[in-house]
């Protein structure tokens, strides 16, 4: 077994994208199915981070053919923006959670159903 035989096992773009997709789906499931408001916020964070992986992966794998420069930072900058936005969104989200908790004394999302028929 030499290193060249392991080329099938080399990590390509699709691997990263796959991982990111799996993480995204996990986060999506969490948004739909979790009852705890904090858990939903955490799942949203997970989705955002999956997107970050995507950005970084594209940054690594897609500058080779077209761009002449040795390196680009587009992907990383986008990922940085996403992190900033995620952080501020978490701040707002947590404020909402606390407001709801103070009103209803519950973090169970199923109980927030006053718009039900």
């Amino acid at each position: 077994m030499s290193l060249s035989n392991l080329s099938n096992l080399s990590v390509g773009l699709s691997t990263y994208l796959l991982v990111a997709a799996m993480l995204f789906c996990l986060g999506l499931y969490g948004v739909f199915a979790k009852r705890n408001m904090i858990a939903i916020l955490m799942s949203i964070e997970l989705m955002l981070n999956a997107v970050n992986i995507n950005f970084v992966a594209f940054n690594r794998f897609l500058w080779n053919e077209k761009v002449d420069v040795h390196y680009v930072l587009t992907g990383h900058v986008s990922a940085l923006f996403v992190i900033i936005v995620a952080a501020s969104e978490v701040a707002v989200g947590l404020a909402l959670v606390i407001a709801v908790y103070r009103n209803r004394h519950t973090t169970n999302v199923d109980e927030l159903n006053w718009l039900k028929w």
Binding site: F32, L112, W117
Partner: protein, 647 residues
């Protein structure tokens, strides 16, 4: 001279218009004032009578011309797509005769009512209805087309309903009024159908136009088997007269119509409204003449009605009912005359019958008032001495209807019977002759029981006031002389005939036979009720079964009630079931489906954010699939898109 006459004829529309104006005035203005109401009504009808006499005189002066070219004045009333109807007046000998008869009898009845209806609370209402009736009937005889005639036909039916149910607080009167209206309505259904078919076939309802259309364009198109179109039309149109003129089987309303005041019975159910059917057949005679089967049917129905009603009349005890069945019988004569082709005979009998039947009804009213509103003839007796005028005039009426010369009924009845035999209808002749015998019998029975015999002291009778006896005298005069118009050169038949005119001399042999049968009837009545040779009670006992059947009018009313209860009731119950469970079921089903689907769909509105988020997600997935796999393949999956034809 013809121009002057034409000017006069142009004013013919006033004849129905004046009583109608009187009706409006009484109904809306003078209802409180009794005196004013009756005055307006009587003045208007007398004016119409004057105009009618003037027109009749002019018609007679015009001679043969007016028979060929009747004077028609009309204006276009309706002119919508495919329907063109005029409103107008026609003056020919037939309408002139009818105008005179109707106006005369109506004015006599209205004057008579001054005495008869005295003290009645509905005085103004009575005279309003009388005016409306007079206006409608006069309008009908002037009608130029079938639709105009039908409008007035319905109006007289309405007036009949209003006047029969005049004493509306009596249940029997209300029921009789409804019965009259509904029975005639059954006939009107056929008439209306006939009118519609006529219009679709010939494009016009005008009598003159239809007459020329039928004579030039007569097509013997078979409709059902060998039955021609004209026959079907004739039968349909004849349904109207069947109901209105009380022919069997729609005769049931006339005896019950006696619930109305007696002057009403005299006017409507003896002299004028019931002859509307006969008049319609006469006006549309060109249609019936084209279909021998229809004429045969009319003759058969007429003859049957004549003998049927006469047989019932011989055992009745209510004076008005006897006269009602007598009217039915005489109407049968008129129809039978039209059926055998004796057009002038029928119209002649219409005229004379109007005179003597109205006379007898008014006489009966006089008698009823005299014995304080009793109507059973066995409660009366010996009224001759105390009521001479009523007695003599009633006797004239009885002689007229029995066909005794020289009174009016002799000429008209004899003409009908002679024509029946001469035109080849021996059975009809025999039936008519036997009915004449029965007629003489029951009318004399009535006369002898009411006016002869011992008096009943509890009755305290006295002669009626002048307002009642003067019309009696006038009508008696016409009952005497009315028949004499058959005698001169330009006799009744010269003016009122159909087709070619041949002057027929009176066949004295046949006339003699008719008189003989009349005398037989009188003789038999005399034997039973005056001389008491044969006792009436014994006859009743011996023929009790037959007597019972006749007394109950062959149980026809009971048969109809049974039919309505069981046949019509059964059908209506079935349809009711259908309506409740199927029709309503469908509607309620649609509502239930809406409710059910609403109930189900609302479950999507959970109020939970996560549910809505999932819906978003699924929508995004669908949009992604559309963009990824192409619109064409996915819209095939969209049923609404395929329904709308979007590709």
């Amino acid at each position: 001279m013809f121009k002057e006459m034409h000017d006069l004829f142009q004013w013919a529309w006033l004849i129905p218009a004046l009583p109608f104006l009187s009706f409006l005035l009484i109904a809306f203005v003078t209802k409180r004032s009794k005196g004013l109401s009756s005055t307006i009504s009587i003045i208007s009808i007398l004016t119409s009578l004057g105009l009618a006499i003037a027109i009749a005189y002019s018609v007679i002066q015009a001679g043969a011309e007016i028979v060929e070219n009747p004077s028609i004045t009309s204006v276009n009333w309706l002119n919508i797509l495919g329907l063109k109807i005029d409103f107008g007046t026609i003056i020919d000998p037939l309408s002139a005769m009818m105008l005179f008869v109707v106006a005369l009898v109506a004015s006599m009845v209205q004057i008579y009512s001054l005495g008869y209806m005295k003290g009645d609370k509905g005085w103004s209402r009575y005279y309003a209805y009388q005016s409306l009736f007079a206006s409608s009937m006069l309008g009908m005889v002037l009608a130029t087309n079938l639709l105009q005639l039908f409008i007035f036909w319905e109006l007289v039916g309405l007036c009949s309903y209003l006047l029969i149910g005049f004493w509306f607080f009596k249940v029997s009167a209300r029921e009789a009024a409804k019965k009259a209206f509904m029975t005639t309505r059954v006939g009107d259904f056929g008439l209306l159908l006939g009118m519609i078919f006529l219009y679709t076939k010939f494009g016009t309802l005008d009598f003159a136009a239809l007459s020329t259309a039928l004579s030039t364009n007569f097509q013997n198109i078979a409709v059902v088997g060998t039955v021609s179109y004209v026959t079907v039309l004739s039968f349909l149109i004849f349904m109207g007269p069947l109901g209105k003129s009380g022919q069997f089987p729609l005769h049931v309303w006339l005896p019950d119509a006696m619930e109305g005041p007696t002057p009403v019975s005299a006017l409507i159910h003896a002299a004028t409204m019931v002859v509307a059917g006969v008049y319609l057949v006469a006006r549309m005679y060109f249609l019936f003449d084209a279909s021998p089967a229809a004429l045969q049917f009319i003759a058969g129905i007429g003859a049957f009605t004549a003998i049927f009603a006469a047989s019932i009349a011989i055992v009745q005890n209510d004076i008005k009912r006897i006269l009602a069945y007598s009217t039915l019988s005489q109407l049968g004569y008129m129809m039978l005359a039209l059926g055998v082709g004796s057009f002038s005979g029928s119209m002649f009998h219409l005229m004379t019958h109007a005179f003597f039947k109205a006379l007898m009804f008014l006489g009966a009213g006089s008698v009823i008032l005299a014995v304080h509103h009793k109507q059973d003839i066995w409660d009366m007796g010996g009224l001759w001495k105390k009521m001479p005028i009523t007695g003599w005039t009633f006797l004239i009426g009885v002689m007229a209807i029995s066909g005794m010369p020289p009174f009016a009924g002799f000429f008209s009845k004899d003409e009908i019977l002679a024509n029946a035999l001469q035109y080849g209808h021996p059975i009809v002749y025999a039936v008519g002759l036997f009915t004449a015998f029965l007629t003489a019998f029951y009318m004399c029975r009535l006369f002898f029981v009411v006016f002869m015999g011992p008096e009943k002291p509890e009755n305290h009778t006295h002669e009626s006031p002048w307002s009642m006896t003067i019309p009696l005298i006038i009508l008696a005069f016409f009952s005497v002389v009315g028949g004499w118009v058959a005698l001169p050169e330009h006799n009744f038949a010269f003016f009122v005939h159909y087709g070619e005119f041949e002057h027929e001399a009176i066949n004295w042999v046949l006339a003699g036979i008719s008189v003989l049968t009349g005398l037989l009837g009188i003789g038999l009545a005399y034997a039973i009720y005056v001389k008491k040779i044969i006792l009436a009670e014994n006859m009743v006992l011996r023929f009790s079964g037959v007597h019972k059947i006749l007394k109950n009018a062959y149980y026809i009313d009971e048969l109809y009630l049974w039919l309505i209860e069981h046949v019509m009731g059964g059908v209506s119950r079935a349809l009711y079931w259908f309506d409740i469970y199927i029709v309503d079921g469908i509607i309620n089903g649609i509502a239930l489906i809406t409710r059910g689907s609403g109930k189900t769909l609302r479950l999507t509105g959970t109020g939970q954010v996560q549910t809505y988020a999932m819906v978003f997600f699924f929508a995004i997935v669908v949009i992604f699939m559309i963009f990824a796999f192409g619109e064409n393949q996915l819209t095939a999956l969209n049923p609404l898109a395929t329904l709308g034809g979007v590709r």
